[in-house]
Amino acid sequence: MLDLDKVTVRYANRVTALDEASASFPKGQFIVLLGPSGAGKSTLLRCLNGLVRPTSGKVRSEEGGNILGSSAALRRHRQRTGMIFQQHHLIGRLTALQNVLMGRLSFHGTFRSLLPLPRADRLLALEALDRVGLADRALHRADQLSGGQQQRVGIARALAQQPHLILADEPVASLDPATADKVLALLHRICREDGITAVVSLHQVELARRYADGIYGLAGGRIVFDGPAAELDAPMLDTIYGSASTPSVQPAPLQPEQTPARLKMAKIA
């Protein structure tokens, strides 16, 4: 449903973040972008909704063609493209519900959106919160929720857009391993149920193996692997992560009974 065609992104400081990357994201699949930090995962994801403009190359969607064709086309594309961020990107002093309602903004004109959104939108937002198990926290301030809960609000915000596509940029990197697995499982289940195409960047090989229908491996701005999780063997991981000395396989998710101190250590690692 979405194709990346020889996309190169060069930033103003002459760093080439993405080098002639081509990829395609079939409808309903859960695709993982795997690679170390700085490999170009975030840049690739942001090309898929126009937050980053390619220096050269095109991003095409099945419905609308070139997503950067016009500002109206871009807005239509973004309307049905939910994005989930590593740092959640919530507004701390607003309630969970208010944050989720941001996902409904693009369905209304700027001046209409200055007034409270219609009841139908509020119900949609509440439903989205319910699906991530946070309906009872709807009126809590976002900054009073735990990290895992905040990320679930982030997922609900994306769901409120009734998306065809979800882009998730390291959605579980700032969570402890046990919570990370739960949040990713939730995201995976919802995308399956709703037939949403998902593009998720991760740096944990284990998580990628568990959930991905297909994996793109990135290293130094290039796509160096394209295939199912089963084909991801040790030599290929060395290619992606640079050298054998790099811990290419992350430890399995920690069990909840482990001490907070160890959890904290794992988070930093």
Binding site: N49, L51, I91, S113
Partner: protein, 267 residues
């Protein structure tokens, strides 16, 4: 040997630092004393002559004469209305200007600079001068006072708003853009909600300030209690002057307390 050499070097360096520090302190002190001297503060003769006059004035101020209090109610109410109206106008004009003046929300760099310059210009014209100009333009009364307060405050409030907007967390802005929000929606739904407590804070401080400033503006004929104060001064009715000053003080205390309570509620 080399260790004692190191100690000596460190101590010598510390001594040099101490001398620099002392020189700086002496310079600042000299400037302060010079300023007092230039403004005749050290002319003891004027104080010796002045103190009895001051005592005379003070004695004429007590007891305060509240006899005309019914005539002050309306002007006090006018002053209150002026302070609120001036704040409303200032906020309405400041908000769009602040969005233009903050580098992260401004559509382009030139417009940002132009707006910043405009705000600086408005700030630099004192409201009493604006008051004189507006009295000449639209006549006596509360209206010129409101216009003067608002216009001067736009320079101040706009700058503070812009600074608040400038330091907003960019992450939720990216989230709004990704969800397809228009540039204006990003501002109304992602920037403003983040800075709302700061904007409310700035606005309420400005309202408190406006109450005090509007009392002064009355002196140039821009309505309110300041007008009565000027009239009493002209009549050399110092007991009435002190009564009016006490009335203003009471109102300022009430307005400040109200502002503080509102600020707390809007956190």
């Amino acid at each position: 040997m080399s260790q004692s050499h190191l100690y000596a070097t460190v101590l010598a360096e510390e001594r040099r630092g101490g001398i620099r520090h002392a020189a700086l302190t002496a310079t600042v002190l000299a400037v302060c004393v010079a300023a007092l001297w230039i403004t005749d503060f050290f002319d003891s003769r004027r104080f010796i002559e002045g103190i009895p006059a001051l005592a005379q004035l003070a004695s004429e101020m007590v007891p305060p004469d509240f006899g005309r209090w019914q005539h002050w109610l309306k002007p006090l109410l006018d002053t209150l209305a002026m302070s609120i109206a001036g704040t409303v106008l200032a906020v309405v004009i400041s908000l769009p200007l602040a969005v233009l003046a903050a580098p992260n929300t401004s559509p382009n760099g030139l417009l940002c600079q132009v707006t910043r310059t405009l705000l600086a210009f408005l700030r630099s014209v004192p409201e009493i001068i604006l008051g004189v100009i507006f009295v000449a333009a639209v006549g006596f009364g509360a209206l010129p006072g409101v216009l003067a307060l608002a216009l001067h405050s736009v320079g101040m409030v706009g700058k503070f708003y812009a600074e608040a907007i400038e330091h907003v967390d960019p992450k939720p802005l990216e989230a709004a853009r990704a969800a397809g929000a228009t540039p204006l929606q990003v501002i109304t739904h992602s920037v403003i909600p983040q800075v709302f407590p700061q904007l409310a804070d700035i606005t309420l401080y400005r309202w408190e300030y406006h109450f005090r400033a509007s009392a002064v503006l009355g002196i140039v004929g821009a309505g309110g209690i300041g007008f009565e104060l000027m009239a009493a001064l002209r009549l050399i009715a110092y007991d009435q002057v002190s009564a009016i000053l006490l009335s203003i003080l009471a109102c300022v205390v009430v307005v400040d307390a109200l502002g503080a309570r509102l600020r707390k509620a809007l956190k």
